[in-house]
Amino acid sequence: MEKQINIRLFKDTLFKGLVCLFAFASALPLFLILYYITKNGIAVINWDFLFNLPRPIGESGGGIGSAIVGTIMLIILSGVISIPFGIATGIYLSEQKKGKLSSIVRLCVIVLQGTPSIVIGIIAYIWVVLPLKTFSAMSGGIALSIMMLPVIIKTTEETLKLIPYHLKEASLALGVPYYKTMLKVILPAGLSGIVTGILLSIARITGETAPLLFTAFGNQFMNLNILKPIDSLPYRIFYYAMSPYPEWHTFAWGASFILVVFTLVFNLIARGISAKWKTQF
């Protein structure tokens, strides 16, 4: 009896040990990645690197200025396209809890969220690049906006669902029309959640490379025309990483450092907003 209990207790401890070991081993890659990025990346970062354009191999002093500008442009483009649609669809879903169309829409959002980014890249290529006969920032922005949509829709829906029904009633009882109630009472009450969702979706697409391969394509020159190919951080990292030149490899690390900072900053702001601005009911 005693022995059996000891065996059971031993198994219990062993299992717990294994769970902890595996759980914490999973965090190890994070530190390795952050270590590599910092070690290899920080050394190349200086003003020239941040502001200069890429230069041919052999010339020193090249940078990722055009890639940073391109990434910011892509964020703005895809945000402008997806935010209004995303919020409107989110409101629609939060208002239509049941109903045939809304459950189909919900299913489509799930499917869209799971669609591989490379497929979306091909779609944007066929829809935008082929008709315009050129790679362009526009096509990249459209591809990325399709990837942002599901995130914005879901967070908007979830946020608005949590807003107490009695707020809506309070507004309607004052004779406020339904659409104004939604726009002036319900949306502001859910604003922090929605903004958080938007920032998280931006964090998600900032590092997306696959949809840009055949759309925004990359450009070693500075370009502000949305109908021309444009550089971007993830594309530049890919380009440098796949090159055979050690110098460009360090550039890839430097650009990675900047990209990770970008995504982390968006994530942190998102968390800060959802913690600080949270509407109290």
């Binding site: 059971r8 759980a23 914490f24 669809t89 499917v111 799971g114 591989p116 091909i122 779609i123 490379t209």
Partner: protein, 304 residues
């Protein structure tokens, strides 16, 4: 008194316009998805007509002979994804159990949770870069010790990176399902003198099983569609892989590697692959989400 107000008829119009806009943007998502499907289907049609379904089982991908089959990429995709899942499962289940049962709150679990979240947010292309500089040399030296051609890149390398990438995803799903296990069930078992391990083995895991499986399924959906890191690490070979050390291509990586230069039937064949990839991820996602949805409904019923 209401001088500055819209007339009731004006309000009515705005009201109608508002609901119309909402419904239209909802419907837009459906149209978008249907359009994606048909765009892929129509542009893949030349290849579909030419190769039919044998495309899926033919193993030659030869541009000069204009004969295309996607078997090498299907096999490459399945091999990398399965291998990645096998590597990832012990880790992600451990995280789920740790965060969902052993250590639900406190500094340590917050730390682990944030680490996992950050890991999930790191861009694919950076995983690829890191893989080139850490995993490729590691796998290469392993290959040298085994006495096989030391490519460094290939299925195993890609699987390792994929595993790291899907761990956060399936772990967060797993944690949710495990924390849905009703407390009174566990307490009943504890009161009978069960150890925590026995409660986990006999109560928690069986109860959460379908959720965990759904999580693995969704992670699989992720893995088969993952593009950049795999593209950078798999070696871009169009031959049927012969071992887990072979360079290969997945469906996603062959598109990423070859679509920019492709024209005519090659492009059409690549889009055919994209269509297959789209359909498979769609099915996997619908099933996985359906299971999760059902579980959360049951859980909410039990609470009330």
């Amino acid at each position: 008194m209401m001088s500055n107000c819209k007339s009731p008829a004006g309000i009515d119009r705005s009201e109608k316009r508002f609901t119309w806009i909402l419904t239209a943007s909802g419907a837009f998502i459906v149209v978008l998805l249907i359009a994606i499907f048909f765009t892929l289907f129509i542009t893949a049609l030349p290849a579909i007509k030419k190769f039919g379904l044998t495309f899926l089982i033919s193993k030659s991908w030869n541009a000069t002979a204009e004969s295309f089959g996607s078997l090498p990429f299907l096999v490459g995709t399945l091999l990398t994804s399965f291998l990645a899942l096998i590597i990832a499962i012990p880790f992600s289940i451990s995280i789920s159990m740790f965060l969902g049962e052993y250590c639900k709150e406190g500094a340590i679990s917050n730390f682990l949770r944030s680490a996992i979240e950050v890991l999930a947010g790191i861009p694919s292309v950076i995983y690829g870069l890191w893989g080139i500089f850490l995993l490729v040399p590691l796998v290469r030296s392993l290959e040298m010790q085994l006495g096989i051609v030391p490519y460094g890149v290939g299925i195993l390398t890609s699987s390792l990176i994929l595993a790291i990438m899907v761990i956060p995803f399936s772990a967060s799903l797993g944690r949710e399902v495990i924390s849905l296990v009703p407390g009174d069930l566990k307490e009943a078992a504890y009161s009978l003198g069960a150890t925590r391990f026995e409660v986990m083995k006999n109560i928690v895991i069986p109860y959460a099983r379908s959720g965990i499986i759904a999580g693995i399924l969704l992670a699989f959906g992720r893995a088969i569609g993952e593009t950049m890191a795999v593209t950078m690490l798999i070696g871009n070979s169009s031959f049927l892989p012969t071992s887990i050390f072979s360079p290969a291509n997945t469906m996603a990586s062959v598109i990423a590697n070859q679509f920019s230069e492709a024209t005519g039937i090659v492009a059409s064949s690549l889009i055919y692959i994209a269509l297959v990839l789209f359909l498979v991820t769609t099915i996997v996602n619908i099933i996985g989400n359906y299971v999760i949805h059902k579980i959360s409904i049951e859980a909410s019923k039990e609470v009330t």
